[in-house]
């Protein structure tokens, strides 16, 4: 363990090794993961953009690395990618702000 940071870009390539310590669960996860991203009611392209947006809201550097590249491979434009990230950002900030209603409720209840 020589890395001075928690995240190492090289670790993304090792994701598959997760199965080594628990083969059954690892295999089930990757089978599920692969199935989720197959063309269905949503296209693979649409799923890639959803994944990119979620990658940002989860602030997962591995996922951002993977789905930025995946988007390019699918011919998704920079504008489409940035719009998807804004959707994620809007939901994330909206989720924060909507909790303001809780704050208002609490204050209203407590104040005379």
């Amino acid at each position: 363990m020589t890395s001075k940071t928690y995240y190492d870009p090289a670790d993304l390539k090792k994701f598959g090794k997760i199965s080594e310590w628990s083969e059954e669960l690892g295999d089930k996860f990757f089978e599920y993961y692969g199935k989720v991203f197959e063309e269905g009611a949503l296209s693979e392209r649409e799923k890639s953009l959803i994944a990119l947006a979620v990658a940002h809201t989860e602030m997962c550097p591995y996922c951002i690395d993977a789905y930025s590249k995946d988007g390019l491979e699918r011919g998704i434009t920079k504008e489409e990618m940035m719009e998807a990230v804004h959707v994620g950002a809007a939901i994330k900030s909206g989720a924060t702000l909507v909790h303001g209603v809780m704050m208002m409720n609490k204050v209203n209840k407590l104040e005379m």
Binding site: R45, E73, R74, G75, T77
Partner: protein
Amino acid sequence: MLKEKKQQSLHKRNSELAIANKQLEKLSNGIFANGELPTFFEKIKETNQFPLRPNKLEILQINLGYMCNQVCEHCHVDAGPDRKEIMTRKTMLQCLEVIKNTGAHTLDLTGGAPEMNPNFRWFVEEASKAGIKDFIVRSNLTIIRANKKYYDLPQFFKKHNVHVVSSMPHWTRGKTDKQRGKGVFDLSIKALQELNAVGYGMPDSALRLDLVYNPSGAFLPGNQASMEKDFKKALLEDFGIQFHNLFAITNLPISRFLDYLIASENYEDYMYSLVEAYNPAAVKNVMCRNTISISWDGFLYDCDFNQMLELKVASKIQHVSEYNEAVLNDRNIIISQHCYGCTAGAGSSCQGVVA
């Protein structure tokens, strides 16, 4: 001339990577020498596919020269206006003898911009008399609008029933111009509309118009069928353009694309992506197994990429002047790490995916 960031070929810039041996050294050292990644030889040996041997010859690909009106950033030929290597009429006559007698069903003319060879039209007229089934010209599209003398190329192609295959990296201006040079997108759109106007690419037309998609960066092409659907929708909606098929071709790590990979510090990650995407099924149909590539000076190669790496066929017949198909077909195909580009994912060839 079309403007681009790097307006000169690697040759003109005296870049080290203009030398084929330097490219081969780069592809054999580092991550392939220290055992981090398996060499292509080791990889195909795992699946008992070494040595690679030709199947029946189907495609004769002739490179009419490295001169081009564009200086695309990813070009594996290192083509450009400053390249003067073009096929002479003498070599063309030798090629015509081969075309008349070959068992191949497809003739594929490429470059540079093959149309810039002053003997191009004469050669096409003579070659078309041989009655070969599929006669391809790889046109960069902008050449059709580059100069008045090329304006009638769509009619010329139609007259000789040429199958036009053209590069188009994306349906948006930004991505296209970034890879192929400023202004390329608008000229390409105009050229495609002119090809459509004479009947090329229309749904029921026998005049074939196919597009080639190369990724504009250090990533692999996505699913060919999905990309084709997206290209068709966007080009039709935005410009009223129609075409038949889209070929998704992986950029091979040689020449200017290799230069780009190294300069952008993407080389190792790109090689990892290629090796990870290795598909043994693609090896079965890789294009060097059914193709012979002839260079502007008449030498013979397993493919256009080996031509650029100056890896002549491993046969006692190495020049078109002594061409013998039976002798040539009895050879081992020369491989190096660049071959991973043709075996990644669904595979890649001048005709698109292979697996």
